[in-house]
Amino acid sequence: MKIHLDTDRCQGHNRCRLIAPELFDTDDYGQAVLRIEGEIPEALHDKARQAAANCPEFAISIEDDA
C-alpha cells in the first residue's frame, strides 16, 4: 500500500494526523506532511484507509495492491 497526499487540496483540517499520527505530521502552517513515503507497514493499513476516508478535502488517496 502507498499513500498519496495532494498538498494542493490539503487545507490543514488535521483529521489525518489525529487519526494516524504515525503516518501524518503537520508543518508550521498546519499543512499535512506524509511521514512514510514508500510502502506502508501492514499494521498501519487500517489507519491509512481511515485517514483517507475522513479527509474533508479528499486530499488523501490510497494505492492498495491487496
Partner: protein
Amino acid sequence: MTCARCPIAHSPRYGGLWMPLTEELVRQIAYDTQHFSNHGAVVGHVEGSEPRPVGSAPPITSDPPYHGPAKRLLLPAFAPKRIEAKEDEIRAVCRECLDAVADRGPGDEIDGAVEYAQHIPVRVMSRMLGVPRSDEDLMREFVHALIEGVDRPEAQQRADRLRVDAYLDELIDEHRREPRGSIIDDLLAAQVEGQPIEPRHVRGMVLLLLMAGIDTTWSAIGSGLWHFATHPDDLARMQREPGLWPTAIEELLRAYAPVTMGRRVVDDVEIGGRTLKKGEWVLLPFPAANRDPQAFPDADKIVLDREVNRHAAFGLGIHRCIGSNLARLELQVALQEFIARVPEFHLADPERVRWSTGQIRGPRVLPLTIGSV
C-alpha cells in the same frame, strides 16, 4: 429532509438569496472563489468601507489573491502543535468556571450556556490576544453586542462597533509600546508583499479572531452539553469509554455544526440547474451538508463511534476555519471537564432552552439540573 427534490432553495430577501441543501452543492460553491466572494460572509451585511479583495475582517472577508498571504499570517499561531500546547491552560479555564459554581449540588440548576460555555472561548481567546484578565467580561459583552445585536437599532449598532474598534485600537497600541507575546505582536511584526500590515487590517484581523473564535466555539460547547443532557445513554457511554472522545467530538461537530457562512455572487453562474445572478447572496449551510444522507449514512442519527465522518463543520476549501484545532481542543476539554465535575445532568425544562438566531447556532440559555450520581 427532501434535499433530493430541492437541492437549492431561493428567497427574494436581500435582493435574492440562495441556499444549497446538498453536500455536493455546498462543496461546489465553497470551492468556487471565482463566482462567489467572501465579501458576503455575513448575508445581508453590505461591506461598505473595505473593498474586495480584503473586506473588513480579513481573511474571512477576503478573496484571492489577498486571502492566501493574509491567512498565512495567522496559520502558525493556530497550527495543531502550537494549539496542543494549550491543553493545560484550557483545562484550568474550564475548572475555574466550574469552581465558581462548586456550591451547586444534586437538584440545583446550572446554566450550561451562561455559566459555562460562554466563558471558555472568551477567556482562551482573550489570553491569546493579550487582553488583560480584568477585561474578559468586556470581551464577552462586545461579542454579544456584535453578534446578537443585528436586530438593535442601527445607531446602537454603530455605537457598539465604535466602542469595540476603540478598545482594539488601544489594545494594539499597547502591544506596539510593549510586546506581550500575543498574536497581536505577530501581526505587528508581519509583512505582506514586503510591507507591514495596515493598522486597520490588523484591527480587522483581531476583530475576526474575537468574533469567529468565541461565538462559534461557545455554540459548539453548548450544543454538546445539550446533547448529553438529552441523551443519558451517550453521557454514560462517554464515562465508560473515555477513549471514544476524539471520535465522539467529530460526530458532535458533524451533527451540531454551529456555522453557516455567506457568499455574494460576483458573476452569474449555474448551480444545481438554477442561475445565480451577480449581486445575489448565498447561504452556505455546512450543517445541512453534514446531514445530507447522500454523504452520510444515517445522517440524522448521532452515532458517537461513527468511523467515516468527512464532515464540513469547519468549512471546505481555502476558507477552512483557521481556529479549527483550537475549537476542537476547547470543545473536547470543556465537555470532559464538565462531565467529570457533573457526571449526571439533564435539561431542567426543555421549554426554557433558548437557541441563537442568525448564522451561528447554539443554545444561549441552557438550564440544566444536576443529578445525583
